[in-house]
Amino acid sequence: MQKNSWLYRIYDLYYDGFRSMRLGKTLWTIILIKLFIMFAILKVFFFPNFLKEHAHGDEAGYVATELIERGVGSGE
């Protein structure tokens, strides 16, 4: 790759930047831990897609039943 090409300069910006980070390393560690907690623990174990689990592919029908049944004086 030519050293004066745009692609190399972008690669060099990120490579050199990440390599010479000091406080940034701590912050990136925190970000990665946070993302792991959010996506690998919270999302997987505590925040399932409620409609996907209960509507069995008919989300509109499920929500319609829910909203009609919860309506006062209607849906009887």
Binding site: L13, L35, P48, F50, L67, R70, V72
Partner: protein, 548 residues
């Protein structure tokens, strides 16, 4: 509250889901305003470097960018949790609004990722790699990217408060966007955007001035503190005045589309023309007032005509109170607003028509029958949410929170205007004004006699510096109070007039929501403690000066 609706949803599921959403949103909002505010400060400081090429300004820019980076990193992805909650706790709502939210949130996600990740990288890694002009542009574009992200989030929020540019489709059970521009540029969204972003600049300014005052008190980083303080104070004063002006515009939008919120903010039980703004009044913070029997809040002293001016730009403008909205009213220009009981009937008609339409569609009923049911739905869907309400009083938000949160926000806003004005007079050599103010402050014992005729920010009494530091948490309280007014004031609606919380919530067991609430409380508290400790450590360490 909420005792009159017919459903088998556990009330505690609604309350825990609301509490969890509020906790997450409040936590997320600790990071966003400082990001938006510090972006302006560091942009101005780097512009000074670009214009003067003085190494001091580059070091100063790097210092504020470091603090910006800590806050930015700690705030990354905290908003995503809100989307998790939409999908799990608020599934009916999530489906119901899906088409409207999809576009703004997708644009926000793409913009946030590409703009911020590109320009943040250039800002931190590019000092020796790109030209000063390109670097400066990247710094400003980092802030602009965050601000544009805020635009789309606020567009989504504004749509919930004022659902426009959409049509309800009973086949898909969703609101479908028919006019993108009406959604993206609704006056409600525009007013909300400017008020929110400009008030966020106050937090950046207060933070900047607070940090500078701490350095001045410690008699270190004198030049950085003095020069940054000047910039922070000017940004702060402009932002405080701007927030007052945009708040007025925002208030007028609320008066138009959410009069109940305005009535709750003002504890206005019975409205009329020529209404005054409550300057002093007492609303018990722990109890919903008896607005049907009380004429007005106790000990109320008005600023004459101010509420009418705020709401309508006319001192004799009509502002409805809580009882007027509940019972229906006619404005002086002849507009007739139906009572809540009439709206309940319309809501019930909408829900019944949706049920009949879906049944007829499944039975392959003839087109004219479907068309007739569709037109009944369209005629009443605006008030569909009232079909879930049995008692008209369920549409009155909790008045004490709105009343006091509004006063905390406005009161602190006035404090910030005075504070920044004084800081500017002390920091800049303004002919006559600086000397007169200093001598006046000295006469009242606020400044020591020795500082009356000298132009310096050093040597002020310690409490002066501590006051500036103490204003940092108060700025957050003011900002969060604004959100309390915006969100508590629209209760019980998740979508104004269309979907109350108890229809929007998923049929979950409350214990599962309670567990995640506690998990979040622990997680958020830990993360906040980590952020504050890193921030304080870096502030204590101070800037790194390079030889230029």
């Amino acid at each position: 509250m909420f005792s009159n609706f017919i459903l088998d949803i556990d009330v505690s599921t609604i309350n825990w889901s609301r509490a969890q959403f509020a906790l997450t949103a409040i936590y997320h909002w600790l990071f966003v305003p400082l990001t938006l505010g510090l972006a302006v400060i560091m942009g101005i400081i780097e512009t000074r470097y670009y214009r003067t090429r003085e190494v001091f300004w580059r070091d100063a820019a790097k210092f504020w960018q470091k603090l910006f980076g800590i806050n930015f990193a700690m705030g990354v992805a905290t908003g995503i949790i809100l989307e998790f909650e939409f999908g799990t706790n608020w599934s009916n709502y999530s489906w119901f609004v899906g088409d409207i939210f999809g576009a703004p949130l997708a644009i926000e996600g793409i913009l946030a990722f590409f703009m911020e990740s590109t320009f943040v990288a250039v800002m931190y890694f590019g000092w020796k790699k790109v030209s000063p002009g390109f670097h400066l542009a990247s710094t400003w574009l980092t802030g602009l990217g965050a601000t544009i992200s805020a635009w789309w989030i606020l567009v989504a929020n504004a749509w919930m408060q004022n659902p426009v540019g959409c049509e309800f489709n009973p086949d898909t059970m969703r609101n479908e966007m028919v006019d993108f521009l009406a959604v993206a540029f609704s006056p409600f969204a525009v007013g909300k955007f400017f008020h929110t972003v400009i008030s966020s600049w106050i937090i950046g300014a207060v933070f900047c001035v607070g940090v500078c005052c701490w350095y001045l008190m410690k008699k270190r980083e004198i030049r950085l503190a003095t020069e940054s303080l000047k910039i922070g104070a000017v940004v702060g004063l402009i932002a405080s005045l701007g927030a007052a002006f945009t708040g007025h515009i925002s208030g007028q939008q609320v008066a138009k589309v959410q009069p109940m919120k305005l009535a709750a903010m003002e504890a206005l039980y019975n409205g009329g023309t020529g209404q005054g703004l409550t300057a002093v009044g007492w609303v018990n913070p722990f109890e919903q007032p008896d607005y049907e029997k009380e004429a007005s809040a106790p000990l109320k002293i008005d600023m004459p005509y101010a509420l009418s001016i705020m709401a309508t730009d006319d001192p004799h403008g009509y502002v409805p109170g809580i009882n007027d909205i509940l019972n229906g009213y006619t404005t002086p220009d002849g507009h007739v607003e139906p009572s809540v009981n009439e709206k309940i009937k319309m809501g019930q008609k909408a829900i019944s028509a949706i049920a009949a339409y879906r049944k007829a569609k499944a039975a392959k009923a003839p087109e004219p029958e479907l068309a007739s049911l569709l037109s009944e739905i369209q005629a009443n869907v605006k008030y569909m949410g009232y079909g879930y309400i049995k008692d008209k009083h369920d549409v009155v938000p909790y008045v004490p929170v709105n009343f006091w949160a509004f006063r905390v926000m406005v009161g602190l806003g006035v404090v910030f205007i005075v504070f920044f004005a004084v800081m500017i007079i002390l920091a800049f050599k303004i002919p006559y004004l600086s000397v007169i103010t200093r001598r006046l402050l000295a006469a009242f014992g606020i400044l020591p006699e020795t500082a009356a005729d000298t132009h310096t920010l050093l040597g002020l009494p310690a409490w002066h510096y501590w006051l500036a530091v103490a204003l940092i948490p108060l700025a957050y309280i003011a900002s969060e109070s604004g959100w309390l007014v915006a969100e508590f004031g629209r209760q019980p609606w998740t979508i104004q007039d269309m979907l109350p919380t108890w229809a929007a919530v998923s049929d979950l067991h409350s214990s599962s929501v309670m567990i995640t609430f506690i998990l979040f409380l622990v997680l958020f508290t830990t993360m906040l403690a980590v952020e504050i400790s890193i921030l304080l450590k870096q502030i204590s360490k101070g800037p790194e000066y390079e030889r230029g």
